[in-house]
Symmetry: C2
Subunit: 765 residues, 2 copies
């Protein structure tokens, strides 16, 4: 931390009043004078040549201001027609070909949405359908249809990433981790087990769907966007529209949820193009149905091969992960890295060999999703741990405790880990659920109850950068300038507390800005549970600068040495002479500085070697456990999660109430993924792209979770906690279901049908 | 300056394209969803008790959202009901009494302006008229009606000002300057002359009238305002609404002109109150007619008593200045200081005694006006110089040259002046106009032509504070964060140039922000021709920080010492090894800093002792001259200014084209004041409050001015030049008219009527 501080904790949210009063100004509700509304026509086929596209009737509809096709985009020499954060493989609007059902083909801006829709209805489009490929394993097979004919160009964040595309195949990227000698590890193991697990594509289901308003002036672009990564979006728009970054302004009001779904550009370039064409502001917000085909969680198939000693010691792990990144890479090439390096789980395994693949298919693009690649591999890992225990006849709790990483041990990336609390967390979870390996499942009528455990490790974005500025005003109140995004997670509150404690200020004197990239300093993104940690540190550094100036100016005014001063409740005073004191406002006014300005930069070091996956995966590790008790109805296959204990390590907790709520939210997400959620495709066509058919948990489905947030009393570091509890939920529930029923489901979600099918198999066996 | 630089000059405006395309987003054109429109009911009497006020019918008009009176404001414990930048003497809405015709009494917010007007028409109000006082001399007389019964409280900017109000009188403030021994000076003079001069109340006539949009959330206020002093307005609103400054946000889009008329709060608090009452955004923009009763230039009566030697040496000056500050002090207490300390003009006079008074009357409040008190005293001073020369039988050019301040001499405030160029400027002006004292006026038909000179000194706000922040982005482009206000004067261009030159960047890579007090750092105000100087210096200091970081990071990356690096056209390179170079974007990206942040604070020292007027009046002095040739039609009294040469000293010129345009604008202003402009009151009731009756010059009236901007080749300092040419215009024209006609008009404007009357008197004599 930057300067001495008086640690504060705070419960509540600084923006609580606006929230309960319904006064938060979300982008989706935004209106500008003279603003047009936009709609998109989307491909109805998963792979096809655009044989005919006629928008002339659409253009003639009264009230239509602009109609654009991919060919129109190509006519613009000042526009780079494809984009993507890692690979520039995605056309702004489809050109020549469509690569997934739902891809934007025509965009219309009109006086209102009805007129826009009327125009879209008059577009004449014919596709010559091509053979598609929808599964990552099929897509890597010899002779599979190619999603992309030519290899794409690198985008802006690719600098530190070696992209292993293989032209002529559907391989989008390949992450490798090579540690120890995995073959020798298997040779030395008493048993080697190999299992395959899978998890489906999912939706983030933010309450606020994606929205963007674009306004263009000569040589300037302003967008209001639902973005978790405002500076990335700014950079992408600058790249696409060939402008200096200073000419692109991204303003991000509070988001109605993000969960990774609002990272990087998706449809925003289209809105800018429409605003340019119409010379008026344009708004496009996605319907819930469009959300389903805009960005998804990667479906994944994971093969785990594990060598283990008779006593349960894990000696070797080989993992192959096949992530379905959809038709465009988006941030998939990075997702596979995280899924890959965490394939060994939270365990000290000396020999690890990982191949993690991002694979193109003719399905909607997949991107970041709460946990970023971790839950796909944790599902495999933590399910297999229970399988191994079963095969060895061991208590899976004991197997975990035996192998869990401890301080000073070496993680799969070669990183020596510190501040490890896995055993403490797991013991707490096991204690709370009343874990007893020997206990038989409890039967009651046609229902059976049992318990399951899981334990996960994940990292945060590393290396990464956050910067902050602060202004101490002439009345001693404080403005914090940050590009971190408030999306309901309580970040404004956390940053206000971290700023306030540095000067012993009341939290209500602090105002944390919303994002305006013209004015608020750089942040890499509100992702990977990084902001309270990284932006918090940047704010503290900035406050340290202000604090030093404040002390120096006060020392001049009080005719004392800065060392003889202390900061107490909004005043600077001479130690031992409290009557010689000035409040901050007096210092600022009397020195005529107007305000005291400070800035801080958090820039973590690290990263993995692209050929071996060795290096610093994360500046610190997020540690999470879960313990579930489930009840399965043996007749219907329905699962009820009776109790769930979610535990995480948090370093230092800023806001206990919100730390618990974030953890509760993670558990609700995990429950949905464990039991209900799945995007169902048939030949590349989504079958359940709406919230009637795609099932998220209701409040009825949720257990009353018990949450525990482990805090280290002397922790200097603050861990982000937005995702930590999530990845353990699915395997903990899956393991509990297995212990209750003997049915081992390896492909999420664990539906009643799968359980009934498993029970039938057991009965037949 | 903060760092080595490669001086740039630039012609044009960075926002030229938006300007010519009509795309500048002025506040007056602003619209928010759900926004109400507001109108004010104003007092019809100059002084009166509100005998009856009934708004009940107005409240019942469909579409009316809020109706407020002064009594409603008093009911709000969370609102301080009066305000003012120096003295909190102005009620937000009149309470009990009205003090000038035009004072806001009732405010209405409604769905549209027609409904608001309909509601106002239904307000029942009766005044019991009280005797008023309208002239500053009458107002100071024994037994004059009192504008304020009780002495007002001090406001936020009063800290360094001793306010000499005298309870039970209409004295609002008194500025004193005491230098040398003025009585002994007069005793030692060969002649002592005393003359009285006056100048009327005026309008700024910005193209955009005042406008304000207010939006309130729980515990937060946001206003978009046409303000030259956003941080002052923010502070005033925080004071009125009893909020921390961080909870008040003032956003200032580009202004359509300011000229001092948009400084400090006037009606903005009303708009906030309406928004609070209606719980919706509210907009109020003033009609042109309302402008006339919102803020004016101080009418003034100035008595000059001057002791002079036979050879023209000025030995003593006593000046009494009576500024009519109207019903409320506004910034009047500071205006009188500037008018006061400049009463000796640009001359080295050893004995000076000045009493400068701000006096309350029942007329609209007077405030800042391009030149801030200087033109009232310069009109007196420079007219009297010609009168003295006439009486001494001397060339007024020679009289000026004899007494003008030179480097190392002492100004009336005791300040030793440097960088003086008065003689050079006056010689140039005289040369250009073809000055020849002996020359007789040229008669042609009924018209007569002659020439006149004038020479003025003025200061800039001292002490004063400006702060700036800059962000060097990850592509090497730059954002400048400033709270200086662009109002057509080209400030964005000037600051972009000053930022760009510090890093040898193309100007189009730099974006200068608009003002948003949540985000842009403190600035005292875009007033007193201070911004290019003061904010320019703050920007340069901020850039110096960025430059140092850039060099240090580049040194690390290039494995060199920062001292061995040079900055050339957007790259940092090793001296003598130009191939070892990185562009700025590479440095930012490779060091993973996100952006490089810098901030700078300009805080000038100075100020005058309130009892003696001695001290530092200004960090540097603005120096201006004018030479006019006029033609007077002896039959009609009409004056045509044939030629005008305006000269100023600029220090260093950033943008030659704009320096000339600013000077030309000053001359147009001065021409209007010399010949046409005057707010005409009858018993406190304005007779010409519209642009049909209040005459500003048309393009037809303007001479083709010749402008010269003197630049010192090695000038490090940049002088603001927005006002410098203005104060000389009126006396130069007046002096020319006198030389043409023998008619000496001492009260502005010099109308045909006054000339004809003077000619008649001459004929009779």
């Amino acid at each position: 931390m930057a300067a001495p501080r008086k640690p504060l904790t705070y419960s509540g949210m600084v923006d609580a009043r606006e929230r309960v009063a319904g006064r938060v100004a979300y982008t989706i509700n935004m209106d500008l004078p003279n603003m047009l509304q936009a709609r998109l026509l989307r491909s109805t086929v998963p792979h096809g040549r655009i044989a005919r596209l006629d928008v002339s009737r659409a253009r003639r509809v009264p009230g239509v201001a602009a109609v654009l096709t991919g060919e129109d985009v190509l006519q613009r020499p000042d526009v780079f027609p494809t984009f993507g954060p890692v690979l520039r493989d995605q056309p702004i609007l489809a050109v020549g070909k469509v690569r997934y059902a739902g891809e934007p083909v025509v965009a219309v801006a009109a006086e209102d949405l009805d007129i826009a829709q009327e125009a879209l209805d008059l577009v004449e489009v014919e596709y010559e359908e091509l053979p598609g490929v929808f599964d990552p394993l099929a897509a890597l097979a010899e002779g599979a249809p190619l999603v992309h004919d030519t290899p794409p160009r690198s985008g802006q964040t690719a600098a530190d990433l070696i992209i292993h595309t293989r032209p002529g195949t559907n391989l989008c990227n390949h992450f490798k981790l090579r540690r120890g000698d995995v073959e020798r590890g298997f040779a030395g193991a008493d048993f080697v087990f190999e299992d395959t697990f899978s998890s489906p594509a999912l939706q983030h289901v933010s309450l606020e769907t994606h929205a963007c308003v674009a306004q263009v002036e000569s040589g300037r672009i302003t967008v209001w966007a639902t973005s978790q990564t405002p500076h990335m979006l700014r950079g992408q728009l600058a790249e696409i529209f060939k402008l200096p970054i200073s000419r692109v302004r991204v303003i991000v009001p509070t988001l109605g949820g993000g969960y990774g779904g609002k990272t990087y550009a998706t449809f925003e370039p289209i809105v800018v193009l429409l605003a340019q064409a119409a010379r008026r502001p344009v708004k496009l917000h996605l319907t819930r149905e469009e959300e389903f085909v805009t960005i998804t969680k990667h479906a994944a198939v994971v093969r785990m091969k594990t060598g283990v000693k008779q006593d349960g010691t894990l000696v070797a792990r080989q993992a192959s992960l096949f992530f379905n990144t959809g038709a465009y890479a988006h941030i998939g090439p990075r997702v596979i890295k995280n899924g890959g390096y965490a394939s060994g789980g939270a365990y000290a395994i000396p020999n690890v060999w990982v191949d993690s693949y991002a694979v193109y298919t003719n399905t909607p693009p997949a991107g970041a999703f709460r946990g970023f690649g971790i839950s796909q591999s944790a599902w495999a890992n933590e399910t297999q741990i229970d399988l191994l225990a079963e095969r060895l006849g061991m208590d899976p709790y004991a197997l975990r405790m035996k192998n869990l990483l401890g301080d000073g041990q070496t993680f799969a990336t070669g990183q020596v880990v510190e501040d490890c609390h896995f055993r403490e967390l797991l013991a707490e979870a096991a204690g709370r659920i009343g874990w007893d390996w020997k206990a038989e499942p409890v039967r009651e009528g046609g229902r059976v109850r049992a318990k399951g455990l899981a334990c996960i490790i994940k990292g945060t974005l590393t290396p990464s950068t956050s910067t902050a500025s602060v202004k101490l005003n002439e009345d001693g109140s404080l403005n914090v300038l940050t590009s971190s995004v408030e999306m309901g997670q309580g970040l404004k509150t956390a940053l206000a507390v971290l700023a306030a404690e540095q000067l012993d200020l009341p939290v209500h004197q602090v105002l944390v800005s919303e994002v305006d990239t013209d004015l608020t300093p750089y942040d890499q993104g509100t992702v990977a549970s990084r902001s309270t940690h990284a932006m918090g540190e940047a704010v503290a550094l900035a406050m340290g600068q202000v604090r030093a100036q404040l002390l120096q100016h006060a020392a001049d005014l009080l005719e004392a040495s800065p060392d003889d001063l202390e900061i107490v409740q909004g005043t600077v005073r001479v130690k031992g002479a409290p009557e010689r004191a000035l409040d901050y406002g007096q210092v600022v006014r009397q020195t005529r500085r107007g305000n005291l300005l400070g800035s801080g930069t958090y820039a973590s070091r690290g990263g993995l070697d692209p050929e071996t996956g060795q290096g610093i995966a994360s500046v610190h590790f997020h540690q999470g456990v879960g313990a579930a008790e489930v009840e399965v109805d043996l007749e219907t296959g329905q699962v009820k999660v009776l109790r769930y204990h979610g535990g995480i390590y948090a370093g230092r907790v800023i806001n206990p109430a919100q730390a618990e709520l974030q953890t509760e939210g993670s558990i609700a997400f995990g429950l949905g993924q464990a039991l209900f959620e799945e995007m169902v495709f048939e030949n590349g066509r989504l079958q359940n792209g709406n919230l009637a058919d795609y099932m998220i948990p209701s409040m009825e489905d949720l257990p009353r979770p018990s949450l525990f947030v482990l805090e280290h009393p002397e922790a200097n570091e603050i861990h982000g906690i937005g995702e930590t509890a999530l990845p353990a939920v699915m395997p903990a529930i899956g393991n509990a279901i297995y212990r209750a029923t003997g049915v081992r489901v390896t492909d999420l979600p664990i539906t009643p049908e799968k359980i009934l099918r498993g029970l039938a198999v057991l009965r037949e066996a």
